[in-house]
Subunit: 282 residues, 2 copies
Amino acid sequence: MKLYLDCYVCILRQTLFACRQAGVDEEAQNEIFFRVMELLQEADAADPPPKIVTQVQKLIREKTGCEDPYYAVKNSSTALALTLYEDMKKLIESARDPFDTAVRLSIAGNIIDFGPSENFDLQASIQDVLAKPYAIDHVSELKSQIEQAGTILYLADNTGETVFDRLLIEQINKPVLYAVKEAPILNDATIEDALAAGIGEVAEIISSGARSPGTVLDYCSEEFLKLYDSADVIIAKGQGNFEALSNENKNIFFLLQTKCEILARDVGVPNKSIVAKGALVK
Amino acid sequence: MKLYLDCYVCILRQTLFACRQAGVDEEAQNEIFFRVMELLQEADAADPPPKIVTQVQKLIREKTGCEDPYYAVKNSSTALALTLYEDMKKLIESARDPFDTAVRLSIAGNIIDFGPSENFDLQASIQDVLAKPYAIDHVSELKSQIEQAGTILYLADNTGETVFDRLLIEQINKPVLYAVKEAPILNDATIEDALAAGIGEVAEIISSGARSPGTVLDYCSEEFLKLYDSADVIIAKGQGNFEALSNENKNIFFLLQTKCEILARDVGVPNKSIVAKGALVK
């Protein structure tokens, strides 16, 4: 997905949030905000948004001296999600179609996202996603691809959402590589965040090698790219991974909620949809 | 109120909305967006937001060739509000305190605002505003000031909200000067818009002489400023008028909903509050 003008607006809003989370004063916020404006003016609009966000967040880290502005919100997201884990597990186990319910819950958890907004209602998201139809429903194709697959690569998205991913991985019941970010960027999960969610008990956690929101292949490590190339099925969570990988000709299943008009239009669905889209499904 | 960094984000979002309402293509949107970014980089942050919005919207008109990008949304707002007029009038007449109910409804109508957002739910706003307590309640002071006043100046805000203003003016039952904008700016009401709402039947409609959202005194006509200076009571509707006039030492009553965090903080109330604040009330 290319960089739209609306993305510039969103990135500037994100900039203010990150600066304030980093605790810097108004003067520093001002300097950083205007420097980000310049960065946006120089950006290549053909690039996907996660690429420019990577640069913007790097600048914010350098100027604020804060390596992880989202540290506090990430930890509270994991804590919140963990309080729901047991109930959700029971819900899946008693469901008519446990795999579908687990896919839905993993999409419900995708509401925990400090990229497109700073507010979310997790309980409302769970109720909503369990009840509504998919805008794109390739869940049965995902299930059959998983059954045939040797290697499954799961591209993580946000911290806290990780707990919901764990529930889905438990249903997959095959070895899964769970790829997280190399270091903190927005509220994306790192190895530490994945461990806190209990992912270590159900999958092998690896790093993409990149410190970018969404798996921007240009920034990933050689080691990760080999695993990416050889995976039979890739599950890619969230908007960032869709933005970064929507043009890839790979067996990727995008599981996400559309949380902005621009991305929804790019996916080809209404905003606030739930999507389970296989890139190669006709 | 000064220009906050969050206002820059909001103004850029407004820019995209106005360009799209004006119907220009992506290339033109791009050019205008980047020109507005430059304008914001040069802006004086001590100025109130309506001042910079005035310049931004002028630039959009010049670059798009569209004199009134909000023409369509303004007309549909008036049409929508007029469908509710008779029911609201009955509601006021049967209320325990008709003046308070009319003040509340005039504040409910303030949700019709394409400045801070592009979406609003008018019916929900009416239900909400009728039920909830004021965050600042100077309604009895307003009522007693009106009873003593010779000249009452009513500073209009948005088109469609005008219909709700009409209901309040009917309760005032004294001569009222209803000041609108000299020419179209955002969805602010002009003389034509006020007439379409039936304001001509209950008040004398005058122009502020300014084409700015909010009554920016620097941009108002000499003729208007004389009326402003000599008014006994001024009713100022909406966020724009608060932003422009919050530092004035005048007998102004601000009637508004807070629709953004920044303005709410400046007023000193939570966001999504309803406010009836007399500037001189201790």
